[in-house]
Symmetry: C2
Subunit: 387 residues, 2 copies
């Protein structure tokens, strides 16, 4: 496998885009990424598109009017990690030499569902047992708080940080700060989780231009190298499951650190999958930032906000930026690319050189039939030299 | 890219599987393919799953109880070519050396939709203009018949052949023969297409085990080599479009022949995408079996049935075997693998050594935002030596 880099990145703001089709949203992000890269359309060999609810051929519909016809377009549907899985397919296609330069797209228009829940399949035993996502995460939250002597206030602090970060991000859906009191007073969803502790859904798109490292000088934007690209599914196990340890993330992160030849202490900035407040705490531990039971202490220490040792979700994360499912993984990558190129403006993590992206989804957070993708990205060489 | 082979293949019968979940159908096919290959589950590095209507994480649900946890599972949704595109992703992953042995799955449970039409998006301009698939193919049929002085009888002959082939196939949904008169007398769908000229939908699953050629001796089944693997999307064009030339198939086939270093005359057996009778005639020409306007003559000559020079759809094709969308491409591959291994029993094409698979889908048959995959497979070496 040859070295693979990202040379273009862009996204639409996340939120409600009632007047746009899913194809139009996707096209806007792809055009932005091509422009950022200074790429000609004729340089694009293939498109890898992540989407969940948009129906068939979403990728083709997004690029058909952009002059990107004829080439292979692969639509990938891996729940919350759809466009993160698309990034991995792109990494393989370019790394193997099959393609030189490809586009990764993540796009979702959840408002097209009319405000209802995601379509569920009652042949799925989790659905049949009422294990909706908020319920699953609420159970995990209760267990975690009980296990480590914590309180709902510790959870609320995650939402306060997310919204404080999101207030700095013009691409975020929720751009106002909040307080622990307001978080706890917001509408109960599944105790102990309140409304402000659950990510908003919405619409949006994000896109990347991925190429071989040796081709990077062809493009205008500085090249962000993909140091690790990992995808895992859940593991079948019998017997007791520790619901406070998201094993699929633990294993994906371990493999990513091995691929990159680094450890969690080397990471400067992370976009992780905080669909609910409790998720961020569990993932601190799963990604190796904190010992088991020490996540809340890490949060309260300030280590994961601006000025800390590993800034987590400078974009506001899913809790503030929003979670248009298929768009989320690619948008996390866009944020990390901007951070590593020193272009994140008022939410810039100073001197960020290594960034990690974590997107995961599926029942029981992937213990069973989930999907988890972890990528590690490295800042452009010139920035490394400057450091 | 190193050489890639198929060492395991199996499928469920196509039809109505009202008592099975989409996951259970997929699991059955995967187990069959693993057994055919004599593969241990621990040898499987990843799963590439094609599905359209089953919701999120269908591949994960299909393999979760089979001991195939933890590994990457990628769900691909490319309309009618979903599992053919999954085969291509598998080909790239193995050819590049990223993985050694992977499973390809195609699965669909259309009866879960309750008999209604496929979900459509009215932001799609073709849908908004009433261009449903039967209407599109009916327009193409009228144009083709008018252009070349043919009659509906010529179309009906395609259905008669398909059903005659399907009657030999225990995996086919429709296993009774029919006549030109019965085809023409069946219920009108979109003139000149009658019911028997439109493929039935239904449920089913098909799976393959794909590995590197150098690893083939590890497995029990003879290795069928992938000589070409091509995926195209539709091309944006302005101006008049010739609706009787499915350009996306023309271009995909040309590229596949180039990759394999052969021409259409070298192909012994084909599974092509006959969703409607007219489609088979158009694809004869697009695949290079006949000159423009000469497809019906080729059909009537017997060249594309048993005993002919290039047997087309020995399985019965979509018209008789059925078309559970996401399962179709993988099932076409299973049929060709069986043909090239001399295991197709009463529908065996004698001495078949090179086979072609064609799966295509999307609006206006891919002129616009469609997806088309063409693969060329080669018989195991020992069989070649025997010929």
């Amino acid at each position: 496998m040859r070295d693979v880099v990202i040379v273009g990145a862009d996204m639409t703001p996340f939120g409600k885009h009632l007047d746009r089709s899913v194809g139009a949203l996707g096209a806007e992000a792809v055009l932005g990424a091509l422009k950022d890269a200074g790429a000609e359309r004729s340089q694009i060999d293939a498109v890898y598109s992540g989407n969940v609810t948009g129906g068939m051929l979403v990728g083709q519909r997004a690029v058909r009017d952009l002059g990107l016809g004829g080439i292979p377009v692969v639509n990938i549907e891996n729940a919350c990690s759809s466009s993160a899985a698309a990034l991995r397919e792109a990494y393989v296609a370019v790394g193997s030499g099959l393609h030189n330069t490809v586009v990764v797209l993540g796009v979702e228009k959840l408002t097209a569902l009319g405000g209802g829940p995601l379509p569920l399949d009652d042949a799925d035993h989790e659905v049949a047992n009422g294990q909706m996502m908020p319920a699953i995460y609420a159970m995990r939250a209760r267990r975690y708080l009980s296990e480590y002597g914590l309180s709902p206030t510790d959870l609320a602090a995650v939402a306060v940080k997310a919204r404080r970060h999101g207030a700095r991000n013009p691409y975020a859906y929720l751009r106002t700060e909040t307080t622990v009191d307001d978080v706890l007073a917001s509408r109960p969803i599944a105790t102990p989780l309140t409304l402000f502790q659950c990510c908003p859904s919405g619409d949006g798109a994000a896109a990347l231009v991925v190429t071989a490292a040796e081709r990077a000088p062809t493009f205008e934007a500085p090249a962000v190298r993909i140091r690790a690209s990992v995808l895992h599914s859940g593991e079948f196990r019998t017997g007791f499951r520790d619901m406070t340890s998201p094993d699929i993330t633990v294993h994906s992160a371990q493999e990513a650190y091995e691929q990159a030849g680094i450890g969690p202490d080397d990471i400067d900035v992370i976009e992780l999958h905080d669909a609910f407040t409790i998720a961020e705490l569990l993932y601190y531990e799963a990604l190796g930032l904190a010992e088991r039971g020490r996540a809340a202490a890490l949060l309260h220490s300030g280590a994961t906000t601006f000025g800390g040792s590993t800034v987590v979700n400078p974009s506001g994360g899913l809790l503030a930026k929003g979670h248009p499912i298929g768009a989320t993984g690619a948008a996390q990558a866009v944020e990390i690319v901007w951070q590593l190129r020193d272009q994140a403006e008022q939410r810039q993590v100073d001197g960020a050189r290594l960034g990690l992206i974590h997107a995961t989804g599926g029942g029981l957070s992937g213990v069973d039939h989930g999907a988890c993708a972890v990528h590690i990205l490295e800042a452009p060489r010139k920035q490394v030299a400057r450091g």
